[in-house]
C-alpha cells in the first residue's frame, strides 16, 4: 500500500540561519520535484518552501528509504552536510503526516496562529507540483482535502477574526471609531518600520491623503513621495491636526510632541470631529492625558499590545476547535486511503457486481415459475462463473508487483468508475 511520508523543518525546530540555507526558490522546487519523482522509491512528491518552513511530502511504497532519499536530496541539492540539519528535521508517516499537512494548511502550526498567507503558499506549491506532474492520486487528494479543511476551519471558527499585529490592531480600532476609513486623512509623524507599515495598511483602506512630518524635511519628502502624500515641516504638526483624522507618531523625541492644550484648542476648529492617535514611539510622543478629551482617542504601544494579546488568546481558543476539525478529516482521509488498497478494491468491486447480478437474476427467475429448482441452480452457477471471469483480468493486473507503475491511479479510477466509495466522501470538495 502507498503511504505518505513527510519530512520538514519549521520556525520551531530550525533557526532562521538554517532555514534560509535550505529554502527553495520556485525554480529549485521545479527541478527538485523532477529529481524526486525520478527516484524509484518515490511515486509522488510535493515540496513547500516558505520563510518559516520547508516541507517535503512523498507518496511511497517504502517509507524508510524514501525518507533517506529526501534527506540526501536536501543535502546534495543545497550542498550542506546532512548532520547540519538532521536534528532540526521532523519526520511524519501515515496518519501523523496527514494531520501535519492539515494543521499547516489551516495555519494551526504557524508562528502566528490563524495567519492566512500559508494557505496561498501551499496552493502555489501545489500548482508547481501539478505542473511538474509530480503529484498523483494520493497527494492530490491529500492537498485538496487540506484546502477543504483549512477553508472549513476559517469559516467555522473565529481563528482569523482578530488582528494580531500592531498595525492591524491599530486599523481595527480605527474602524471601530470611524466606521470605514474612506476619505480619512492620515498624519505620520516621524518614521520607522512599524509606522510605515501601518500607513501602508491604511492606504489599502482607501484613506484620502497622507501628510508626513519629519524632523529632517528631506526624509519627510522621501516618505511623502513613497505614499503619494505631502510633506510638512515639523513645526506645522499642530496646524495639520485640524485636518488629520488618524495620527501615527513614531519619533525619537524624548518629550511629548503633541500636548493636551494644543489638541484641545484644535478641536474647536475641527468642530469636534474625532481624532485617533496611534503612538508607537518609546518614549511616547503623544501626551496620554489627551485621551481624556472628548472625541479623541489615544492608544500607545502597550495599549496596542494589550489588544493583540487578547486577540492571540481568542485565537488559541479557536485553534482548539480547529484541531477537532483536523482530527475528523484525518480519520476520513485514512478511511479513503485504506480503501484504496488492492484487496479492498477487489472485494468492493466483486460485491458491487455480485449485488447487481443476483438482484437481476432474482427478478428474472420470479417470473419463470416453470423452472425447476435444479434449473435455478444452473443459472446461479452460470452467473457466478461470469462474475469470476469478468474479475479475473483486473485482479491479476492489480495484484501484479514489481514494475514501477502508478497503481494508486488505477485503484482510484476503479473506485470512481464503479462508485465504490460511500457518496458522502466524494462530494465534499
Amino acid at each position: 500500500m502507498q503511504d505518505i511520508v513527510l519530512i520538514g523543518m519549521n520556525h520551531k525546530t530550525a533557526p532562521v540561519e538554517l532555514r534560509e540555507c535550505i529554502a527553495f526558490s520556485p525554480e529549485e522546487i521545479s527541478t527538485g520535484l523532477d529529481y524526486l519523482k525520478s527516484r524509484p522509491q518515490v511515486s509522488e512528491a510535493f515540496l513547500l518552501s516558505t520563510c518559516n518552513r520547508v516541507e517535503i511530502i512523498l507518496a511511497t511504497d517504502d517509507t524508510s528509504s524514501a525518507v533517506m532519499e529526501a534527506k540526501s536530496f536536501i543535502s546534495r541539492f543545497k550542498g550542506i552536510p546532512s548532520d547540519r540539519f538532521d536534528s532540526a528535521l521532523y519526520t511524519y508517516q501515515g496518519e501523523a503526516a496527514v494531520q501535519h499537512v492539515f494543521r499547516v494548511a489551516a495555519s494551526l502550526d504557524s508562528m502566528v496562529v490563524g495567519e492566512p498567507q500559508i494557505l496561498g503558499q501551499i496552493k502555489q506549491a501545489y500548482q508547481l507540483a501539478t505542473s511538474r506532474n509530480s503529484s498523483g492520486v494520493i497527494l492530490n487528494r491529500l492537498l485538496h482535502k487540506a484546502f477543504f479543511v483549512a477553508k472549513r476551519i476559517r469559516t467555522e471558527t473565529a481563528i482569523g477574526d482578530n488582528a494580531v499585529s500592531i498595525s492591524y490592531a491599530a486599523i481595527e480600532l480605527a474602524r471601530k471609531i470611524f466606521g470605514d476609513l474612506i476619505g480619512k486623512t492620515v498624519l505620520l509623524i516621524g518614521a520607522g518600520e512599524m509606522a510605515e507599515l501601518a500607513v501602508e495598511h491604511l492606504i489599502r483602506h482607501k484613506t484620502a491623503g497622507i501628510i508626513v512630518s519629519n524632523r529632517t524635511y528631506e526624509r519627510g519628502m522621501e516618505l511623502a513621495k513613497r505614499f503619494k502624500g505631502k510633506a510638512i515641516r515639523f513645526d506645522e504638526i499642530i496646524e495639520a491636526l485640524t485636518v488629520a483624522d488618524i495620527v501615527i507618531s513614531s519619533t525619537g523625541s524624548p518629550d511629548y510632541v503633541v500636548s493636551r492644550q494644543q489638541v484641545k484648542n484644535m478641536m474647536r476648529t475641527r468642530r469636534n470631529r474625532p481624532i485617533f492617535f496611534i503612538d508607537i514611539a518609546v518614549p511616547r510622543d503623544i501626551d496620554p492625558e489627551i485621551n481624556t478629551l472628548n472625541n479623541i482617542y489615544v492608544y500607545d504601544i502597550d495599549d496596542l499590545k494589550g489588544v493583540i494579546n487578547e486577540n492571540v488568546e481568542d485565537r488559541k481558543k479557536e485553534a482548539v476547535k480547529g484541531e477537532r476539525i483536523v482530527d475528523e478529516a484525518v480519520i476520513q482521509f485514512k478511511r479513503w486511503q485504506e480503501n484504496l488498497d488492492v484487496v479492498p478494491t477487489i472485494v468492493g468491486l466483486r460485491r458491487k457486481i455480485e449485488d447487481i447480478a443476483h438482484a437481476e437474476l432474482q427478478r428474472t427467475l420470479q417470473s419463470m415459475n416453470h423452472l425447476s429448482s435444479e434449473d435455478c441452480r444452473a443459472f446461479d452457477r452460470m452467473i457466478n462463473a461470469v462474475i469470476k471471469k469478468i474479475l479475473h483480468d483486473p485482479t491479476v493486473l492489480l495484484k501484479s508487483t514489481g514494475s514501477h507503475w502508478n497503481k494508486s491511479a488505477y485503484l482510484d479510477l476503479i473506485h470512481k468508475l464503479f462508485k465504490l466509495d460511500p457518496s458522502s466522501d466524494s462530494h465534499e470538495e
Binding site: K176, F178, R271, Y297, E310
Partner: protein, 273 residues
C-alpha cells in the same frame, strides 16, 4: 381584534429573543430572524390599528391602552426605517424589547374605546397624533443609540473593550444614526405640535392654553432644538450628543406619563384607565 394584539406581542417577544441570540452568538441568520419576526409583528400591529380606526371612526389614541399601543407601533416603525436607512442591525436589541414591553404594558390597561367623540375625528387630530408619536419614537431610538454609543465609547476610551466592543458598530455609525433619529424626531414633533395648536385653535378658539402637556412638550422641543443647534454650529457630537439624547428622552417620558399622572390638563383623558 384581541388576536391581532396577542399575535403582535408574540412576534415582538420572539423578535426580541432573536436579537438577543444574535447579540450573543453573532450569527447573521439570527439577526435576520429577529428582523423578520419584528416585521411580521409590525404588519399585524398595523392591521390592528387600521381595523380599530375603521371600527371606532377615530385614530386609536384616546386612552392609555391605545396610546401605548400607538407608541409601540411608532417605535417599530422608526426602527424598521433605521434598519433600512443605516443598516444598523444591533439596535434591535433595544427596539424589539422596548416595543414588546410597551405592548405588554398597553394590554394591562382596560380597552374601553367607548365614547366616539367627534373632536377626535379630524385631519388635524390624525396628523397631530402621528407626528407626536413618530417623533417621540424616533427620540426613543436616539436615546437607545446614545446608550450604545456611551457603552462603545467607554470600551474604546478605557481600553478595556470586552463583551460589547466586538458586537457594537463603529462610534461614527452610532453617532450619525442617532443624529438622523433626532432630526426625524424633531421634524415630526414640530409637525405634531403645530397641528396640535391649529387643532386647538379650531376646537377651542385658542392656540395656547397653558396645558401642562403643552408646556412640557415645548420644553422637550426646545431641548432638542438646542441640541441640533449646537451640533450644527460648534459640532456637539459624540459623547455630549449621546448624553443629551438620553436627557431629552427622559423629558419626553415625563411629558408622556408624568404630566398626565401628576398634573392636570385637557390631555388627561388620554391616560385615563
Amino acid at each position: 381584534m384581541e388576536i391581532l394584539t396577542n399575535l403582535t406581542i408574540l412576534m415582538y417577544t420572539f423578535g426580541t429573543a432573536g436579537y438577543f441570540a444574535y447579540l450573543f452568538a453573532q450569527k447573521e441568520y439570527l439577526q435576520k430572524t429577529g428582523y423578520g419576526l419584528l416585521f411580521a409583528g409590525f404588519i399585524s400591529h398595523t392591521a390592528f390599528i387600521v381595523l380599530d380606526f375603521h371600527h371606532s371612526g377615530h385614530l386609536p389614541a384616546v386612552n392609555m391602552n391605545e396610546a401605548l399601543l400607538m407608541a409601540a407601533w411608532a417605535i417599530v416603525c422608526v426602527f424598521l426605517w433605521v434598519h433600512v436607512r443605516y443598516r444598523l442591525k444591533i439596535l434591535g436589541v433595544y427596539a424589539a424589547p422596548l416595543a414588546a414591553i410597551v405592548m405588554v404594558m398597553a394590554v394591562q390597561f382596560s380597552r374601553e374605546p367607548g365614547q366616539s367623540q367627534t373632536i377626535f375625528n379630524s385631519f388635524w387630530f390624525v396628523v397631530h397624533i402621528l407626528g407626536i408619536f413618530i417623533g417621540e419614537a424616533a427620540f426613543a431610538l436616539a436615546c437607545g443609540l446614545g446608550i450604545l454609543y456611551l457603552i462603545q465609547e467607554h470600551a474604546i476610551k478605557s481600553k478595556s473593550r470586552g463583551f460589547f466592543y466586538k458586537r457594537l458598530p463603529s462610534l461614527e455609525l452610532l453617532d450619525y444614526t442617532g443624529y438622523g433619529c433626532i432630526i426625524i424626531g424633531f421634524i415630526m414633533l414640530t409637525i405634531g405640535l403645530i397641528t396640535g395648536f391649529v387643532y386647538a385653535e379650531s376646537l377651542w378658539g385658542r392656540l395656547w392654553t397653558w396645558d401642562p402637556k403643552e408646556v412640557w412638550s415645548v420644553v422637550s422641543w426646545l431641548t432638542y432644538a438646542a441640541l441640533l443647534h449646537q451640533r450644527m454650529t460648534v459640532g456637539w457630537r459624540g459623547k455630549k450628543s449621546a448624553v443629551w439624547a438620553i436627557i431629552g428622552f427622559l423629558l419626553i417620558l415625563f411629558t408622556f406619563f408624568g404630566v398626565n399622572l401628576l398634573l392636570k390638563g385637557h390631555h388627561q383623558d388620554f391616560t385615563r384607565f
